[in-house]
């Protein structure tokens, strides 16, 4: 559990405002959260949308912003899809499987992309782990 704790703390300490565009940080986050998920089998977990966050929609992108801290988080198309599926109550594993089925040509990167997106959204406070198993 100590390793899990360290890895989870590592990923939480990353300050992330943009899900795309910060590749090195994203990779570190991804790695730590990947191990975290692997060790705790939280791929079955679901995440809820934080109701404090508002959504501004653009064409294939969205901007989330929290009324409490006035800063925004930009979601690219992948992160937007993840966000939408979390809002429909799907688990991490369900999201990965659905996206792998839909975008079979990108199958090898989808799990990582979803993990990065969820890690960042949790880190930012936009997603909250659900208490439902």
């Amino acid at each position: 559990m100590a390793l899990v704790s360290i890895l989870y703390r590592l990923q939480r300490e990353m300050t992330f405002h943009f899900i795309s565009g910060i590749k090195s940080q994203a990779k570190i986050c991804c790695l730590s959260f990947f191990f975290y998920l692997l060790l705790t089998m939280e791929y079955l977990h679901k995440f809820l949308l934080n109701p404090d966050f508002k959504v501004e929609k653009f064409d294939n992108e969205i901007l989330l912003y929290a009324v409490s801290n006035t800063s925004g988080v930009y979601l690219n198309e992948t992160a937007y899809l993840v966000w939408e599926m979390c809002s429909q109550g799907q688990s991490v594993e369900e999201i990965v499987l659905l996206l792998e089925e839909t975008y079979s040509h990108q199958k090898e990167t989808i799990r990582e992309d979803v993990t990065v997106a969820i890690t960042s959204l949790v880190d930012y406070g936009a997603l909250i782990p659900s208490s439902d198993e």
Binding site: F18, F58, E61, L63, Y65, G72
Partner: protein
């Protein structure tokens, strides 16, 4: 100590009164505030006193009522503190528009907004663009207002970091006496680069996020509206004053305005590239 005079100045109908005690300080206040909006003293939301005391080691001080905001010997530090106090007072309760931490330049065809946090090279880039013929609006703050995207600039002297002097010397001739300088930086009258200055409030035509990176090759990349809006939010100063944080309107601005990120390591070929991409603005 007798008051020499006072100025009531501000921005977007928010005013402060500055009382000064000594002719030298009158010059300093006018240096800082000569392009700001003026108003009646009765409209002032705060009153500052700028003082000079002591005969052997003249000590400058800035007071807000009984509270000392600055005390020391450095005119630059005093000026820097005072201008930041004016900005704070003019923005803290201002809901007339969206206050953005940004530089801006203008032309007959519109305004270019250059948002960015401190240290991104806004002031140096703006000074250089002004030396190329663009009209100076501000190097620090604008208020974006209304559906017509009117840009209201907080026009002050250029405020530069100390390290900018070498590069500034490459495109503008000035002497030390023209500036107010200190260890941390210096202020330069914008009319040295912009002698035909006249106040403008043009409509927003382009958002350009500048980023100086030493040794970088110049890159001008278009950004999506969503990403542009997210980046603009990082520079958004008075969101709390506006219903719903004003994000919908800010998003509308970014949907209807070209947005680019400019990474540059030198000014070589930069103006030509900007002119090629936006010939009406540069």
């Amino acid at each position: 100590m007798n008051k020499t005079g006072s100025r009531t100045v501000g921005f977007c109908d928010q005013f402060v009164t500055i009382n000064f005690y000594g002719e030298e300080l009158e010059g300093l206040v006018d240096f800082l505030c000569c392009d700001l909006q003026t108003g009646p003293e009765s409209a002032a939301r705060a009153c500052y006193d700028v003082m000079l005391g002591g005969s052997i080691n003249p000590m400058l001080s800035l007071w807000l009522g009984e509270r000392c905001q600055y005390s020391g010997e450095c005119r630059y530090e005093l000026a820097y503190t005072l201008i930041n106090e004016i900005i704070y007072q003019c923005i803290v309760d201002n809901a007339a528009g969206h206050a953005i931490h940004a530089a801006a330049i203008g032309s007959a065809n519109g305004a270019v907004l250059l948002p960015g946090k401190s240290g991104f090279g806004k002031s140096t880039l703006t000074a250089w663009l002004v030396s190329k013929g663009c009209n100076y609006l501000t190097d620090e703050l604008v208020l974006l207002s209304g559906k017509k995207k009117q840009l209201l600039p907080f026009t002050r002297p250029f405020s530069m970091k100390a390290g900018s002097s070498a590069i500034l010397n490459s495109f503008v001739q000035y002497e030390h006496k023209d500036t107010i300088s200190g260890v941390g930086g210096f202020m330069l009258p914008h009319r040295l680069l912009n002698p035909d200055f006249s106040p403008l409030t043009p409509a927003l035509s382009l958002i350009l996020f500048p980023e100086y990176r030493e040794g970088a090759v110049t890159e001008l990349n278009q950004l999506s509206s969503a990403l542009g809006c997210a980046k603009l939010m990082e520079c958004y100063v008075n969101a709390r004053n506006i219903e719903g944080l004003g994000i919908s309107q800010l998003a509308d601005y970014t949907r209807n305005t070209p947005i680019c990120q400019l990474v540059y390591g030198s000014f070589d070929g930069l103006y030509e590239q900007l002119h090629e991409s936006f010939p009406l603005l540069f």
